[in-house]
Each structure stands twice: as structure tokens, then as C-alpha cells.
């Protein structure tokens, strides 16, 4: 049941996204690009929180590092070659390797605190570094292009091209994560989330699996930061801050959309960005309202907004109570 729901919903949603630039104005294409980028970031956080059980409060640092790597390398360049720039988001992988190597030695609240501390360290480093623009950050006046010889085959200067590029990154990221979650590696990390003590007793050196998961998530976050930097044309420390645009919002996205699903955070990114654009026109205390919505979802829909969809659809079909959750693929939450 849930399989058919998903196997229809996802391609349908993708089709709408693919066709969108044909109808939407360039303002909305830009807004949607922002959402897609945020969705990549939130999805990477879901790998940690929703699948591995690592509640990292420092994840925004890798987003920021992805952006800064691009900005620092190309701040004076007049052409940004995509094939030179894209590998720079691997700087985030390197940072995640170091931060992860230290952090995964702790667990529970200590893990949260140590990742938060690392996140703050990165934030203040860039905040207080005059070389990298400090508080103001770095501006980029060009967008990356992919050229063969002198022929440009992918110019992100074009809003629609950027949109499709971001969409391609999101879809690729989704498929890659879905693949590794189905693979033996994915079985181990979901088991670690469920009961890490037993996983260890069964013979797995759990720290390695946690570290690899941390690095994969960090790399994807770096890619998102890279895209955000390239898209908005500036990179500043707020990328890494733990409140404004950083980790708190990302966690809200994962919770709103439904964690441990991969597609939940994508939906969550839409909900959050649209709320952020829409709520301020209602009241100047919109943040209060926003917080209230997040809390309500966490309380009443612990599996997130996307858990509503199968329920609505299944009500229309003849309801089969307690049909077992399908195996395979991004884990469908067992119905409680």
C-alpha cells in the first residue's frame, strides 16, 4: 500500500518540479532553488538524526564550509569553472572526518554538546576573520560555468539552469542515500540507531560506521552549502550559526517533514521556506507562530507531515489495518 503511494507520489512530485520553470516566474524559480538546496542539507541531516541516531548540532558548519570553500577559492576570479569548484565541497568531507573522528567517541547529550561546540568554533572563526570578510562574509560576482574549450555547456548564471542543476543534485543525493540505506551499510546504521549496544555485541565496530555516516552527511551538507553560496552570491558566518539559518531550522525541517524517510526533509524544506515567506505577512511575531507549528507537529505527528499522506490515501482505498511496513528502501515508519 505505502509502496504504491510512494512509487506514484515521488515521480509525480518530480514531474511537477521538472516542469515548474515552464510556468513559474523567475522569482519563484529562485525561491524553489533555495528550497531544493535546503532540502539537500536537511536530507543529509536526516541521514544522521533519522537513520544513524546521531543528533548533531554542528551540521551547519559543513554547510558553511562548502560555501566558504567556493567563496575563498574564487573571490577574485572572473570565471568559476564548475569542474574546479565542485570538488571544493569536499573540504566539508575533510572537516567532517576530523570533527566526526573526535565527536563519535561520545554519545547522547555529550555528542550533542561536542558537535555544537565544533559548530560554534567554525562560526566564530569565520565571524572574526578579517581575511574572509568577518561578519560580512564574502561576495561572489559570478556563478559557476561548465565549459568545454570556450564553449559553455552549463551556465549557472541562468536561473533556470541553476534550478535544474540543484534539482539534479537533490535527486542524485536522494538516490545515492536510498542506495546506501538498502545496502549492508544502511542496515548497520539503522540498527545502530535502534540499539547500538547490541550492534556492537554482534561484532560491528560501530564507531567506524558512525564516522562514515557522519562524513557522508557532512559531504552532502557541503554540497548544499556550495550551491547556496553559488546561488545567492555571498557566503557569511550565518550559514554556520546555530540559530538563524543554521542547524535549528534544519532540525525543524527534518522534524516537520518526518525523519528517517529521506523524502520527509524534502517536504519539510518546502513547508519551512514557504512558512518563513508567508508568516511574516500575518504578524510580526511570526517566529512565535512558527515555533508553535513545529512543536505541534512534533507532538501530534511524531512521524512528520509526510506521515499524513499515506493515511489520507489509504482512507480512500479499502483500509487494511496493520498491514506490515514494507521492507527495503528508505524505511517506512511502522504504523504504531
Amino acid at each position: 500500500m505505502a509502496v504504491t503511494t510512494r512509487s506514484l507520489t515521488l515521480p509525480a512530485a518530480l514531474l511537477i518540479l521538472v516542469l515548474f520553470p515552464l510556468f513559474g516566474s523567475s522569482f519563484y524559480v529562485g525561491l524553489l532553488t533555495r528550497i531544493l538546496i535546503l532540502a539537500i542539507f536537511a536530507m543529509s541531516l536526516d541521514l544522521l538524526i533519522g537513520y544513524t541516531g546521531l543528533v548533531s548540532f554542528g551540521h551547519a558548519a559543513f554547510f558553511g564550509i562548502g560555501g566558504y570553500a567556493l567563496a575563498i577559492a574564487f573571490q577574485d576570479a572572473t570565471t568559476i569553472h564548475l569542474w574546479q569548484a565542485l570538488p571544493l565541497s569536499l573540504a566539508a568531507a575533510l572537516a567532517a572526518l576530523v570533527v566526526g573522528w573526535i565527536s563519535i567517541r561520545t554519545s547522547g547529550i555529550y555528542f550533542i554538546m561536542i558537535t555544537l561546540a565544533f559548530g560554534q568554533m567554525f562560526f566564530y572563526y569565520f565571524f572574526e576573520s578579517p581575511r574572509y570578510g568577518g561578519d560580512d562574509g564574502i561576495f561572489l560576482f559570478f556563478k559557476p560555468v561548465l565549459m568545454i574549450g570556450t564553449e559553455s555547456i552549463l551556465n549557472l548564471e541562468n536561473e533556470n539552469t541553476f534550478y535544474y542543476f540543484a534539482l539534479g543534485c537533490l535527486v542524485t543525493g536522494y538516490l545515492l542515500l536510498a542506495m546506501i540505506l538498502r545496502a549492508p551499510f544502511g542496515k548497520v546504521i539503522t540498527a545502530i540507531k535502534a540499539n547500538e549496544h547490541r550492534v556492537r555485541a554482534l561484532g560491528y565496530s560501530i564507531n567506524r560506521y558512525k564516522l562514515v555516516s557522519f562524513v557522508i552527511a557532512g559531504t552532502l551538507a557541503g554540497l548544499a552549502g556550495f550551491l547556496e553560496g553559488a546561488h545567492s552570491g555571498y557566503v557569511n558566518p550565518s550559514y554556520m550559526s546555530w540559530h538563524s539559518s543554521g542547524i535549528a531550522i534544519a532540525i525543524a525541517i527534518v522534524v516537520l517533514g518526518g525523519m528517517g524517510t529521506l523524502y520527509g526533509p524534502i517536504v519539510g524544506a518546502f513547508i519551512v521556506v514557504l512558512l518563513q515567506d508567508f508568516l511574516p505577512s500575518l504578524t510580526e511575531h511570526w517566529q512565535l507562530l512558527f515555533g508553535g507549528i513545529v512543536i505541534s507537529v512534533a507532538l501530534f505527528l511524531p512521524r512528520g507531515a509526510t506521515s499524513l499522506l499515506p493515511r489520507i490515501l489509504s482512507r480512500r482505498q479499502t483500509t487494511r489495518p496493520d498491514s506490515p511496513p514494507p521492507e527495503d528502501g528508505p524505511r517506512e515508519p511502522a504504523d504504531g
Binding site: P184, A194, N195, P324
Partner: protein
């Protein structure tokens, strides 16, 4: 000369001021069922935890197949061929019965750092998981969520997961605790079958079961080994009757 699979040498562990295991020196013979009995709080679980690496000893050493395994982490010990089950059920509650055994069976791959092909295509793992489920008597419950099973079935799963790692030496911490008589009978039958080609270290309060399957017995009291011997020797030991068997009978 007896073939020793596991030897502990003056193994000690205390929690704060409480000495839970004190100078435990034991030899476990390959192929035998060696039961460890003793009153509550005697340190039996502590001993198992030390052997499996869940706890680090304060003092003493452990040799498995002649190699030092003292201070190795639990995952390394498991990979060497020592499997354990827990007294307090320790399973993946939200996973199906089959998935529980799957995770256990997959641990015998050279590595699970494999990212490309779906795990479900791994035939060897599937067969191992299915065999373990069949052994522990849960084949029919494959798709049932572990949390939704009866307590006795969860205890069976606990054993199944251990078996799916295909250990050579099994550490069983009260496998029968909380089981109904029918389930108990089946598990005793299973243990007897496993005993044919495994070494078992069995902690159990059910004396009938112990006398039925154990070849050797160790009695622990207050963290110390009181006596080790054959079933007959222990049955007839004055000291043991005083501190342990007598007490059992007094309880009814």
C-alpha cells in the same frame, strides 16, 4: 589432556566498593556444557560481561583458544567466535524478527562497509538468518515486529541473534528466564542440540535444566568460585548444599 577453549586467570571486577567478581580462575573445555550457578547477585552476569568484553576487568586475564582477549572490545570478541545472549532481553524492538537476525547474520561478512548492492541480495546472509530463526523456533514469526512478540518469544529471538553470528563458544545468560514450560522445553532441546558441536557456558537458575544438560558445574557465591566439578560432585558437595541448593529448596 583436556582441550581448554577458554581460561580465566584471577579475573576480578568491582563496582565501587562492591566486589562482583573476585579472583575467578576457571577452565572451560571445548565441546562441553559448563553451567555457572549461584544465588542472585553472585556475579554470574558480571563474569559473562567480562568474557564478552561488555565489562573490562580490574585485574586478571582471559585466554580464548590460547590467545589473550583481555581488554578487547565486544565487537572484536564477537568476531573471534564468542557469542552471547543477554539476561535482560537486548533486541531491536522496532525491527521484525527476521531483520533482527539479519543484522546479526550480516556481521559475519568480511565487512559491512558495502554501499552499492542491496543487502537483501546477499544469499549467504539470508541463509544464515533463516537458519538461526529456524533453530530458535521463530520461523513462523519472521515478519512480526519484535516488540509485538510475547516475552518468551523475545527470549528465543535473543538466542536466535546470537546463533546467527555462528559462534564457536556460546555464553548464555539465563536463556530460560521468563519462559513458559513449553517454550522452556523447546529451548532446552535446542541447547542440547547445540551442545553437540559447540561449547556452551550456561548460566541458569532452573536446576532441572542445568542438571539435564550440563556436564560441568561451577558454583559462584559473592563473586567467588565456591566449587567446580561434575554434576555428581556438585550435587554431593556439602558446601554447595549449605549455601545454594539448600536455599533453593527453602524457597520452595
Amino acid at each position: 589432556m583436556a582441550d581448554t577453549i577458554l581460561r580465566t586467570d584471577h579475573l576480578s571486577k568491582s563496582f565501587g566498593g562492591l566486589v562482583a567478581a573476585s579472583n575467578v580462575s576457571l577452565d572451560f573445555e571445548r565441546g562441553q556444557v559448563h553451567a555457572v550457578i549461584g544465588p542472585n547477585g553472585a556475579g554470574k552476569t558480571t563474569l559473562i560481561n567480562l568474557l564478552s568484553g561488555d565489562l573490562q576487568p580490574d585485574d586478571g586475564s582471559i585466554l580464548f583458544n590460547g590467545k589473550h582477549i583481555t581488554h578487547l572490545p565486544p565487537d572484536r570478541i564477537s568476531q573471534l567466535g564468542i557469542g552471547r545472549s543477554y539476561q535482560k532481553t537486548n533486541i531491536f524492538n522496532e525491527f521484525s524478527c527476521y531483520e533482527n537476525c539479519w543484522v546479526a547474520a550480516q556481521s559475519r561478512l568480511k565487512t559491512s562497509m558495502r554501499f552499492f548492492r542491496p543487502a537483501s541480495r546477499l544469499k549467504t546472509v539470508r541463509e544464515r538468518a533463516e537458519k538461526a530463526l529456524e533453530l530458535c523456533g521463530l520461523s513462523r514469526r519472521c515478519d512480526t515486529r519484535a516488540a509485538a512478540m510475547s516475552y518468551g518469544e523475545q527470549r528465543q529471538l535473543e538466542i536466535g541473534m546470537m546463533l546467527a553470528t555462528e559462534p564457536e563458544l556460546l555464553l548464555l545468560d539465563e536463556p530460560l528466564a521468563g519462559m513458559g514450560s513449553e517454550e522452556s522445553r523447546r529451548v532446552i532441546e535446542l541447547l542440547r542440540r547445540l551442545a553437540e558441536n559447540h561449547t556452551l557456558i550456561l548460566i541458569e537458575h532452573d536446576m532441572d535444566a542445568v542438571f539435564a544438560i550440563a556436564e560441568k558445574l561451577t558454583v559462584m557465591v559473592n563473586g567467588r568460585v565456591l566449587e567446580t566439578g561434575t554434576v555428581e560432585q556438585i550435587r554431593n558437595s556439602r558446601a554447595v548444599q549449605d549455601v545454594y541448593l539448600g536455599e533453593e529448596e527453602a524457597d520452595g
